[in-house]
């Protein structure tokens, strides 16, 4: 059974009080819960949030499933998101993504055996002038090559 930590619960309560419509707190609360559950959301979490927020599960679920930044499956400690949209594709973003997968010995959206990495191809991250790029958890890494990207990742323990 998932339960928010005390600080997580306080964060959700403060989001509930922050907006004129309490449903506005769903997205911020999903962020809080996802962080506490190592980067992904389970049906258990939805049930818990529903109780805490007094919002029907179905309402929370539809929001959860609509937005791509909420993960429906476990991800590695480092979620490597490589932009493969047009500006990055023009500068080798797709080749970089497949190089990273090859080097880490993993398919897209899987977790490496040691639990460290998940590699995903994602749509434009607004880093088009510094392509190719990847986002690792919350941090942008820009102007990469397949090699410099791998060097950065090897340093993430």
């Amino acid at each position: 059974m998932f339960k928010l930590s005390d600080s997580g619960l306080a964060a959700v309560k403060s989001e509930l009080a922050r907006y004129e419509a309490k449903e506005s707190a769903i997205i911020p609360s999903l962020y809080v819960a996802q962080k506490e559950n190592n980067g992904f959301i389970t049906p258990d979490i939805i049930r818990h949030l529903s109780q805490v927020m007094d919002i029907p599960e179905a309402r929370i679920n539809e929001v959860f499933k609509f937005y791509t930044m909420f993960n429906q499956k476990p991800v590695g400690k480092y979620h490597v998101q490589v932009c493969t949209n047009i500006s990055c594709a023009l500068e080798g973003g797709r080749e970089m993504a497949s190089h990273i997968c090859h080097e880490l010995g993993v398919k897209y959206n899987e977790v490496t055996a040691d639990g460290r990495f998940t590699v995903s191809k994602v749509e434009c991250l607004g880093s088009c002038g510094t392509a190719p790029m990847m986002q690792v958890n919350d941090t942008y890494h820009e102007k990469l090559t397949p090699e410099t990207a791998m060097n950065l990742l090897r340093g993430m323990k």
Partner: protein, 430 residues
């Protein structure tokens, strides 16, 4: 170099991110000036400036504000910072380098339209820009620039940041409102327009980051000074996000009407050694592509690009050189729109999916010659039939790529490999 830095003059200074650094360069002086004006005077000045929405649609800002009901009904000012149009990265820079410029623009705009509550809706991936904004908002509250009775003017304005969670459609203003209301980011039918019925069914003005930042400049130096730059119908300067196969990609602020070729060759440092210009998407991925011959005739203003059958959009100029396969590049775009369709309207939900399936069957060597016309037929049936513009945005690149580079598509179907690269899709991308 022909940059005209009305908004970005001090962006190279790290201290410009802070309240002290922003004030040292005249920051918040315009707010004092604005408080001495009547709200209607500010609206009139913005109208006279010819400022048009910088997020993509290019709608006149002052006119948008004019749609608000003329009563005391509570209203919201919502800043669209959900920058998601592929190729666009200007708002991110503005929030990182000059968060106070946006805040000042929002306070002035809120004062003009009589709003006491504003939100900046930022795309969820922009964690660092959000940090920059939150820091600046905190500074502004501490200095009495936000909250009750700002600078003793009697005007109250609260400002908060809302973090999105990864959905291109939330950049559409009614999709953004849905998202802020805690719903799926699905656009709403217009009318009613947000200015009449927006967030929580209250009148709401949604303006882009760059638009709101420009308001400060317009009030500071006046509409006529702003109009000295740009063209008659496309007034002022605009930030262009230059990306793709050029030597020095980046954000460049130039007067509207500036030559597209100059932006690529001068600001962008030209093509890479040995490469030739093949095509340009001038206004974000939704804008129809231009051939190199068309680029030579194009100026960066709303009218010139409309005259060439494309659009200025968000100002994202994506440069494609002669080493690129247009079938492959269109596959990137069809995948994007199929992924981002919100699923609400049938022509878009089904159309984007079919475009992507047909395109990828061509890319994977299973295409038939009649599929090329089928792409055109499907795209034609997606235009003007849905609640929002995403469907059109998905159809337009398909129509322009297929029509203007038809030989590449026909070659790919016949040979099962790229005319430019000589290889199959699997060979191109492992």
């Amino acid at each position: 170099m022909s940059e005209v830095k009305l908004l970005t003059e001090f962006y190279h200074l790290p201290e410009y991110q802070t309240l002290a650094g922003y004030k040292a360069k005249g920051g918040y002086e315009t707010l004092h000036k604005a408080f001495k004006m009547q709200p209607q005077q500010i609206i009139d000045e913005v109208k006279a400036s010819g400022l048009r929405g910088r997020g993509g649609a290019g709608f006149p800002t002052g006119m948008k504000w004019g749609f608000l009901p003329k009563n005391g009904e509570p209203r919201y000012l919502l800043c669209n910072a959900d920058e998601g149009e592929p190729g666009t990265f200007k708002d991110r820079m503005m929030m990182e380098r000059a968060p106070h410029q946006l805040i000042e623009g929002m306070i002035i705009s809120a004062f003009a339209i009589g709003s006491h509550k504003g939100y900046i809706y930022v795309r969820g991936e922009y964690v660092f820009p959000i940090e920059c904004l939150n820091k600046a908002i905190k500074e502004a509250y501490a200095a009495g620039l936000l909250g009750k009775n700002i600078l003793g003017s009697g005007f109250d304005f609260d400002l908060d940041v809302y973090r999105g969670a990864g959905a291109y459609i939330c950049g559409e203003e009614t999709g953004m409102i849905s998202s802020l209301e805690g719903l799926k980011g699905q656009p709403k039918l217009k009318p009613p327009f947000p200015a009449v019925q927006g967030y929580l069914r209250k009148p709401t003005i949604v303006n882009n980051v760059e638009t709101l930042a420009a308001v400060t400049y317009i009030i500071k130096d006046g509409a006529q000074t702003y109009r000295k730059h740009g063209t008659e119908k496309s007034a002022g300067t605009k930030l262009f996000s230059l990306s793709g196969n050029v030597m020095t990609p980046g954000n460049y602020e130039v007067p509207l009407g500036y030559s597209l070729m100059d932006l690529i060759m001068k600001e962008g440092g030209g093509m890479k050694p040995g490469r030739k210009l093949k095509a340009v998407i001038p206004g974000g991925s939704s804008a129809p592509v231009l051939t190199a011959e068309e680029v030579a005739k194009a100026n960066l203003d709303y009218e010139s690009l409309a005259g060439l059958g494309t659009m200025l959009g968000s100002g994202a100029v994506i440069v494609i050189d002669d080493s690129q396969c247009m079938v492959d590049m269109l596959g990137v775009l069809t995948h994007f729109y199929a992924h981002e369709s919100c699923g609400q309207c049938t022509p878009c939900r089904e159309g984007t999916g079919w475009l992507d399936k047909i395109l990828h069957s061509i890319l994977e060597g299973r295409g038939r010659l009649q599929d090329i016309d089928l792409l055109i037929k499907v795209a034609d049936n997606m235009k003007g039939k849905t609640i929002c513009a995403l469907s059109d945005a998905a159809a337009l690149p398909v129509l322009s790529f297929v029509t203007k580079f038809r030989d590449e598509f026909e070659f790919y179907v016949r040979e099962g490999r790229s005319k430019v690269k000589g290889t199959t899709y699997a060979e191109m991308h492992h």
